[in-house]
C-alpha cells in the first residue's frame, strides 16, 4: 500500500479536523447542554430542542424564513434567467455594460445599501413617490408595517442578488451548443418554444446549483433584516438566523443556539434533497 498520498493529505486532514470537524462535533454536543457562555450547567438531553419547539417565536421565525426563501428564490431565479437570456441575445449592443451593471449591486457594501433602502422605503421615499404617481396609496412606512416589512427585505435582497446569479445563468447559456438551437429551428420551434424546450432543460444543472446555493444563503438571512428592522416590527421579519443570534448571544443560551443551528441544517438539507430530486431527477433519467 502506498502511503505517500496519505502523508500529503495529513496537513489538510489535521486542519479540517481541528478547525472544521472539531467545532461541528463540539457544537452538536453543545446542543444537548445548558451553557450561557460562562456557567456550564451540564447535559440536558433533548431539553433545548423541546424548548425551541415550544417557543412560538421559533415557529414565527420558521414561517418567515420559508416565506422569504420561497418568494425570494422564485422571483430571483426568474429575474436572473430573464436577465441572462436578454444579455445573451446576439443582436444586443453593449453586452459588457449590461453584465457589469447587473453585477454592480452585489459589490456594494451592505450597510450602504441598507442606508439607501431605508431612505427609499421611508414615508417620503422613492417607493411611495412612484406609487403616488401611479395613483396608489402612498403613505406607507414600508419597514414599519407588519405586512410590508418582509417584502421590503425581499425587494432589497432581490436588487442585490438577481444580477449576481444572472452571471451564473449566462455561463450556463454559453455552454449550450448552438447546433441544438439550429436543430430546433429546423424542426419549426419558435423563440418561445426554444426557450422552454431547449434553453431551460439544458440550464437545469446550473439551475440546481443556483437554487441550492441561493436557498442555503437565504435560509441564513440575517444582515438585511438585522440592519433595517432587527426582526421587527412585531417579529414580522424575524428569521431563523436572527432567532439563533438572539438566543445564543443576546439571551445567553448558547446550548439552545446550537440546537437551533442543527434544526436549520436539517431544514436546509431537506430542501436541497427535494431540489435535487424534483429538478435534477429528470436529467438523470
Amino acid at each position: 500500500m502506498k502511503i505517500a498520498p496519505y502523508i500529503f493529505l495529513i496537513p489538510f486532514i489535521a486542519f479540517f479536523s481541528v478547525f472544521r470537524l472539531g467545532p461541528i462535533v463540539y457544537s452538536f454536543y453543545m446542543s444537548f447542554t445548558k451553557w450561557n457562555g460562562v456557567n456550564f450547567i451540564g447535559f440536558v438531553g433533548f431539553e433545548n430542542y423541546i424548548s425551541v419547539f415550544r417557543d412560538a417565536r421559533f415557529w414565527k421565525a420558521t414561517s418567515n424564513t420559508f416565506y422569504f426563501v420561497v418568494v425570494y428564490n422564485v422571483l430571483m431565479i426568474s429575474l436572473a434567467i430573464l436577465a441572462a437570456v436578454m444579455v445573451d441575445i446576439k443582436s444586443l449592443r453593449g453586452k459588457k455594460f449590461f453584465r457589469s451593471a447587473f453585477f454592480l449591486p452585489i459589490t456594494m457594501s451592505l450597510p450602504v445599501v441598507a442606508f439607501v433602502f431605508d431612505l427609499l422605503l421611508s414615508r417620503y421615499g422613492l417607493f411611495n413617490f412612484v406609487l403616488g404617481k401611479l395613483g396608489f396609496s402612498a403613505n406607507h412606512r414600508w419597514l414599519a408595517d407588519v405586512k410590508l416589512a418582509m417584502w421590503s427585505i425581499i425587494i432589497m435582497r432581490l436588487w442585490r442578488g438577481w444580477g449576481y446569479y444572472s452571471a451564473y445563468f449566462l455561463a450556463g447559456l454559453k455552454s449550450i451548443p448552438q447546433n441544438v438551437y439550429e436543430a430546433a429551428k429546423i424542426d419549426g420551434a419558435t423563440s418561445w418554444s426554444s426557450f422552454f424546450y431547449v434553453t431551460l432543460p439544458l440550464l437545469r444543472p446550473m439551475l440546481i446549483f443556483v437554487a441550492i446555493m441561493s436557498t442555503i444563503l437565504s435560509f441564513q438571512l440575517f444582515d438585511e433584516p438585522w440592519i433595517l428592522t432587527q426582526g421587527g416590527p412585531a417579529d414580522a421579519t424575524l428569521t431563523l438566523q436572527i432567532y439563533l443570534y438572539q438566543n445564543a448571544f443576546l439571551f445567553g443560551r448558547l446550548g439552545q443556539g446550537a440546537a437551533i443551528s442543527y434544526l436549520m441544517t436539517l431544514m436546509m438539507m431537506a430542501v436541497s434533497v427535494l431540489y435535487v430530486r424534483f429538478i435534477g431527477g429528470k436529467e438523470e433519467k
Binding site: N39, D118, R141, A144, A149, P233, Q246, F249, L250, L254
Partner: protein, 411 residues
C-alpha cells in the same frame, strides 16, 4: 578613529537599552470602547506615564459579543471593557469580572446609592459607572414661540400634551416622535418614561412586578399621545429620516436622554440657538417631578486581565475622579455618575448651542433595575408594535408583557 567608532557604538547601544527599558517599564492595557475617548485616554497617560492605554474602538454590541466569547473561552478579553449599563447584569452575575469592592472603598461614597446599585450584585461592586443617561425634554424654541407656548409653563405631562395640541394647531408640527417600530429603542423609551414615574419592570431582587399599574399608565399615555390625540408621528429612531424630520421641524420636542444633545448638535449645527432643554414634567398624582434613565455606561475589568492594578487605576481615574469625569463629558456629552464632579466649573457652564445649562435640567431619579434586559427589550418591543398597529389595547400589551416575561424568563 577606531576608538571613536567604539565610543559611538557604545553610546548608541546604551541609548537602545535605555529606550527598551523605559518602554518595558510601562504597563500596557487594552481598553474596548465604542466612544470617542482618545483625548481622555491621552490625558490619563499624561498623569500616569507608567501605563499605556491601547484604545480599541468597535460597536457596543460587538464589544458585548466579543467579551462574552472571551469570557467563555477563557482568553482574549481586554483589560478594560466599556459596557452598556442596561446589559451589565449579564456580566456582573457571572463572577468572571474582577470584584472591585476592595479597590473602590475610597471613592464609592461619591456615587448615589441608586447609581451604585446598577453595578452591584451579591453585595459586591463589579464595575464603575462612568456616566449615566438621564432624560430631559429637548424642544425647538422657534416652534414653541410660533405657537405661543412658554416652556416654563409646562409643569405636568398633561400640560405637555396641551402644549402639543396648540403646537399642532399653530404650526402643524408633531409634539414628539414615536418609536414605531419599537424594537429595543422603543422598549428603552418606555423604560425612560416608566422610570420617571418611579416605576420598574423588576424588583431589586429581580422578580417581575405583577399587575404593574405604572407600566399600564405609561402604555396608556403613549397610546393616548400617538393613537388618540395624534400628537406623535411614528418613525424609526436614529435613522437618516429621523434626523431629517427634526431638521425640517416635523417634531417640536423630544423627551430623550441628555447624551442625544451631542447628536442634535452634530446633525443640526445650523439650528444653534433654536433648540432648548427643559426638565421632565411631573406625572399627575406625584408630588415631585423625576427623570428616567436611558441607560449609561460601565467600565469593568475582566478577571482574566493580567494587569488588574493598571486597569483599576484607569477606570478609577475615568469614573472616580473629577478630571476623568470632565474628560468623559467633553468626549461624549456624558453626565457624570461620580457626584463630586458636579462641583467642577465645567458643569456650571451654559451650553452655547442650547443656551441653557443642561445639567441643571436633570430631575432627581429613583433606582431602576435591569435584569435579562436584551430579552425584556424584545418582549416589550413586540408588544409596543402590536399596540401601535392597533392589534391590542394598552391593557392587553401590559398583560402580555408580564405573561411573556414570566414564561420566558421565569422571573
Amino acid at each position: 578613529m577606531r576608538y571613536q567608532k567604539f565610543i559611538i557604538m557604545s553610546v548608541m547601544l546604551c541609548l537602545c537599552f535605555l529606550v527598551v527599558s523605559i518602554t518595558q517599564s510601562k504597563t500596557n492595557i487594552t481598553y474596548w470602547t465604542w466612544l470617542s475617548a482618545e483625548d481622555a485616554t491621552k490625558q490619563f497617560m499624561k498623569i500616569h506615564p507608567d501605563i499605556k492605554v491601547d484604545m480599541i474602538q468597535m460597536g457596543p454590541w460587538d464589544i458585548h459579543d466579543k467579551l462574552l466569547v472571551s469570557i467563555a473561552s477563557g482568553s482574549g478579553a481586554p483589560d478594560v471593557a466599556q459596557l452598556v449599563l442596561r446589559r451589565f447584569s449579564d456580566y456582573s452575575t457571572t463572577g468572571k469580572l474582577l470584584d472591585l469592592t476592595p479597590y473602590v472603598e475610597d471613592i464609592k461614597d461619591g456615587y448615589l446609592p441608586e447609581i451604585l446599585s446598577f453595578v452591584q450584585y451579591d453585595g459586591k461592586i463589579w464595575g464603575l459607572n462612568v456616566d449615566i443617561a438621564p432624560g430631559v425634554v429637548w424642544y425647538r424654541r422657534d416652534i414653541f414661540e410660533k405657537a405661543g407656548i412658554n416652556p416654563t409653563s409646562i409643569v405636568t405631562w398633561e400640560d405637555y400634551l396641551q402644549a402639543g395640541e396648540a403646537i399642532k394647531k399653530a404650526t402643524g408640527s408633531f409634539l414628539m416622535p414615536m418609536f414605531v417600530p419599537a424594537g429595543q429603542w422603543g422598549a428603552n423609551a418606555l423604560a425612560l418614561f416608566l422610570h420617571s414615574m418611579g416605576g420598574n419592570i423588576y424588583t431589586k431582587e429581580g422578580t417581575l412586578i405583577r399587575n404593574n399599574q405604572k407600566l399600564r399608565a405609561v402604555l396608556e399615555w403613549l397610546w393616548d399621545v400617538y393613537s388618540v390625540k395624534g400628537l406623535a408621528e411614528g418613525i424609526t429612531f436614529f435613522t437618516p429620516e429621523f434626523w431629517a424630520a427634526f431638521k425640517e421641524g416635523r417634531f417640536a420636542s423630544w423627551p430623550m436622554n441628555t447624551a442625544e444633545g451631542a447628536n442634535i448638535k452634530r446633525y443640526m449645527p445650523e439650528l444653534k440657538g433654536k433648540w432648548g432643554a427643559m426638565p421632565f414634567p411631573r406625572w399627575t398624582g406625584m408630588d415631585k417631578a423625576l427623570t428616567g434613565f436611558w441607560g449609561g455606561t460601565v467600565l469593568a475589568v475582566p478577571e482574566q486581565s493580567a494587569n488588574h492594578i493598571a486597569a483599576v487605576t484607569f477606570i478609577k481615574w475615568f469614573a472616580g475622579t473629577v478630571e476623568g469625569q470632565v474628560a468623559a463629558s467633553k468626549a461624549w456629552n456624558a453626565v457624570p455618575a461620580y457626584q463630586p464632579a458636579f462641583e467642577h466649573p465645567f458643569y456650571k457652564e451654559v451650553d452655547p448651542y442650547f443656551g441653557v445649562n443642561i445639567y441643571e435640567r436633570i430631575n432627581p431619579f429613583e433606582p431602576f433595575y435591569y435584569f435579562d434586559w436584551a430579552e425584556t427589550e424584545q418582549i416589550i418591543g413586540n408588544q409596543l408594535d402590536l399596540m401601535f398597529a392597533g392589534k391590542i389595547s394598552p391593557e392587553e400589551a401590559a398583560t402580555n408583557i408580564e405573561k411573556e416575561i414570566a414564561q420566558s424568563l421565569k422571573r
